[in-house]
């Protein structure tokens, strides 16, 4: 406890808040939105959670009961209804990490950084599930837990990139430098993914082809397509729900860091 004390309480907090000076003072749609979020946020979140839970239960029903059994692959084909949506969402998360990283470098708004981190974490979790379910399917259908096929290998590389992202972030800590570094890594990794995919495809391919060829007629029976779309919707909701939770966690952790800095400073 040395000298300067800024008397009015709360001044301290304003002082150390990150570089978003205008936003907090300017009235307008942002403030209105923030107010609405504060008032209705908890209900909306509860609703989202409830809808997600219902959707997931519906997915189980649709995937295990409603959809017909595949003639060639047998019941194990039903893994596909959880495997494919998660894979798509993992790729989406990967894209969102890169997009949020770009936004962070442009605006230097920490919220983009939290968003990127949350996406990377959920992306890593989803990719892990994709690898596990894919591996189980492979053991049943190909007779091997793992084959060095293009799609599998790319997904594995993706998983490694996420894990490295999360590991180095924990190394860099919650610093502005770390956020910038992570953003650079996220963007560069995203640009490399298509080349990666191309390279690995030239290398070897075994994986079943696209299930819903864009523009062409689906090869699947309609009941299967409906089950897949239902599952995709449910998993997207799950993704959004988890993203919201992890984003909040990131924000809370940033608050802890800020408060800790304040305490040290006094």
């Amino acid at each position: 406890m040395k000298t300067v004390t800024r008397a009015p309480s709360g001044a301290l907090e304003r002082d150390t808040a990150r570089a978003r000076p205008a936003e907090q003072t300017r009235p307008g749609w942002r403030t209105g939105l923030a107010g609405a979020m504060k008032r209705y946020g908890p209900y909306a979140e509860a609703a989202l959670g409830a809808v997600t839970a219902i959707g997931m239960l519906l997915t189980i029903w649709a995937a295990l009961v409603y959809a017909p059994t595949d003639l060639i692959e047998g019941p194990v084909q039903r893994i596909f209804y959880i495997h494919v949506p998660m894979a798509w969402l993992a790729y989406l998360a990967f894209f969102l990490v890169a997009a949020a990283s770009v936004m962070y470098l442009i605006t230097r708004d920490d919220r983009w950084d939290w968003f990127a981190r949350a996406n990377a974490e959920i992306g890593a979790v989803f990719t892990t599930f994709v690898l596990i379910t894919g591996s189980l399917w492979g053991k049943s259908f190909w007779g091997a837990w793992w084959v060095w096929d293009a799609r599998l290998t790319t997904t594995l590389i993706l998983w490694f990139i996420y894990v490295v992202y999360l590991v180095v972030r924990s190394f860099w800590g919650r610093t502005a430098q770390g956020a910038r570094n992570a953003a650079v890594y996220g963007i560069l990794a995203f640009f490399v993914v298509p080349i990666n995919y191309e390279a690995v495809t030239w290398w070897r391919t075994l994986h079943p082809s696209e299930v819903l060829p864009l523009g062409g007629t689906p090869q699947l029976p309609p009941a299967m397509v409906i089950a897949l779309l239902l599952s995709l919707g449910a998993f997207t909701l799950l993704f959004a729900f988890l993203l919201l939770q992890v984003y909040r966690l990131e924000r809370a952790q940033a608050t802890v860091e800020r408060l800790r800095a304040q305490l040290e400073e006094e």
């Binding site: 004390t5 019941p75 893994i79 399917w137 802890v256 305490l263």
Partner: protein, 87 residues
């Protein structure tokens, strides 16, 4: 045979998801606890500091431009007072 793998993958997914959600909730609880304790600590410190500042504010007068300020007594919270004058 195929059924076993099907059940295994759904089980892994659901158990895994629940574990993950539980882990997130646990971390959230930990962080919120930390925030609370720090908020309390900071509020406590500010209350103390404010009390001291008001006590000392009347006695501490500083005009930065003149050397006469050198005679002012101990100036712990003096600096902000000086600043206020400059504004």
């Amino acid at each position: 045979m195929g059924n076993m793998f099907l059940i295994a993958s759904y089980a892994v997914l659901w158990v895994g998801l629940l574990v993950y959600i539980g882990w997130v909730a646990l971390r959230m609880r930990g962080v919120q606890g930390e925030v609370e304790t720090m908020r309390d600590l900071i509020a406590e410190r500010e209350r103390q500091a404010e009390a001291r500042a008001t006590k000392l504010a009347q006695s501490a007068k500083l005009t930065a431009q003149t050397a006469s300020a050198a005679k002012t007594p101990k100036r712990q919270p003096g600096a902000p007072v000086a600043k206020a004058q400059r504004r």
